[in-house]
Symmetry: C3
Subunit: 196 residues, 3 copies
């Protein structure tokens, strides 16, 4: 139960981070607030919906209306705070990194707890982590950040998903372990951005 | 049973309207008739397929071959009637508005009748309504109409989905109510186009 | 059992062919090897995943880790062999044709064997065949090859799917029949490329 709660909290934060990245991209593209809300929702919920469709369960976002709170918050925040800011590339990437770090964990854990094999679980965690960002970029008609050869986008998430599988199999996955993995993935991603 | 029939009829008309928008876009892009058939099919059936995947049911289009009739009709109509027309923007948007008006209703009703909660049902109705158009635009490599800041694309469909939830909960949803909601959504969308 | 094995072998070869097309496109776009691996995986597995989601089964790729071997192979091959090649258009299209020829068969057969009606089965076979290529092109931000009016992309796959339905219904579908259909589809596609 406590594990579920932690999972939900991490998932909602991940949703918020990706939603921020979507809303910031929408602001750069001069979309209005409704467009921002859509792109943020797609970025925040898209990866988890793909994961849940593959797992054959009703997507969590449609089971629990709480999941729509982070995108609404993100759209309002970006609309009121970032509206006149000119250079959004850095915050977009930082929020995206936060979502990546959390979703590679929650996606892998959900797959493992539904009984998928370790390889498929790690791949589903990775799909969750990169799915929302790819949908965001494809719908906004740009080549996904994932394919930018100048920085390591997917490698930290691959490592994170693999780490979760190992920790879970060893029976030592828990809140503390999740936090450590998230910090490692986020750190690697930010370092990669810095040197990219 | 009559409700099912009305639902099917509205769904087929919505499919036809979105399919027309897809085929017209294909003609503007100089796709051949097969490309037109594909883009029309994607626009007409895409939103409903996404809805049904999330609902965990076999997509209606694959249960009932009737659903492939409207895209075929649309491809033939556009091929023979609109082939030499130069300016397609207005008819594309009008057909798109018709599909939007019908799909926000049929999508919401399908979700409600499968027992989804009201919030999720309205959001699935909206997803049905905007899904086909977004897929159409993304696959034709343009920024979705949904993100055009100069007109209100999603707001009429949001309103329509919400209205259906209210009417359904109040127990007064029926053919007449559906027609009224469709007229309101279509009217708002066309007014928005006029002033956009 | 032997049928299953043949199906699996054809599916893995189809996956490899489409994965090659994705990795070659990635090389043309100067993506790094991780981007190449992603685009190859999407091209190779995307069509089958869409098919399986519509069929309501866990996607084969997530049931059987073998499916990830062809994309890894393709990414390595393209990275080490094709890295410095300047003109990739022709091999990309040839591999794509190979995937198309195999997937219209395996997709249709899977749908038939899960009890879908003949029309839906042929359409799902077609979806499997064109799905991966469309996802590949959309994610790499170009108009899908499917819509190129200068060559017949989908027609050979439509014919192949229809042939499989006929052979299956007549009770004479088997390895030899599958090979003949694949040869016909591949041949038609290559002839179309030659005269396109």
């Amino acid at each position: 139960m406590a594990g579920m709660t932690i999972g939900l909290v991490l998932d909602l934060f991940g949703t918020f981070f990706f939603a921020m990245s979507g809303c910031i991209l929408a602001a750069r593209r001069k979309f209005d607030i409704i467009g921002s809300l859509f792109l943020g929702t797609l970025a925040g919920l898209g990866g988890g919906i793909i994961r849940d469709l593959i797992l054959g369960t009703v997507p969590s976002a449609f089971n629990n209306p709480l999941y729509f709170v982070p995108p609404v918050l993100a759209a309002l925040l970006v609309f009121f705070l970032f509206h006149s800011v000119q250079r959004f590339q850095r915050p977009l990437l930082i929020f995206d990194a936060g979502g990546l770090a959390l979703f590679c964990i929650t996606g892998t854990v959900k797959a493992l707890s539904l009984g998928m094999n370790p390889v498929a679980s790690a791949l589903l965690g990775l799909t969750t982590a990169v799915g929302g960002g790819v949908l965001r970029d494809v719908v906004a008609n740009r080549v996904p950040q994932l394919f930018n050869p100048d920085d390591l986008y997917a490698v930290p998430a691959m490592l994170g998903s693999a780490l979760v599988v190992v920790l879970w199999s060893a029976g030592i996955y828990g809140t503390a372990a999740a936090m450590c993995v998230a910090a490692v993935v986020f750190g690697l991603r930010v370092v990669s951005l810095h040197y990219g």
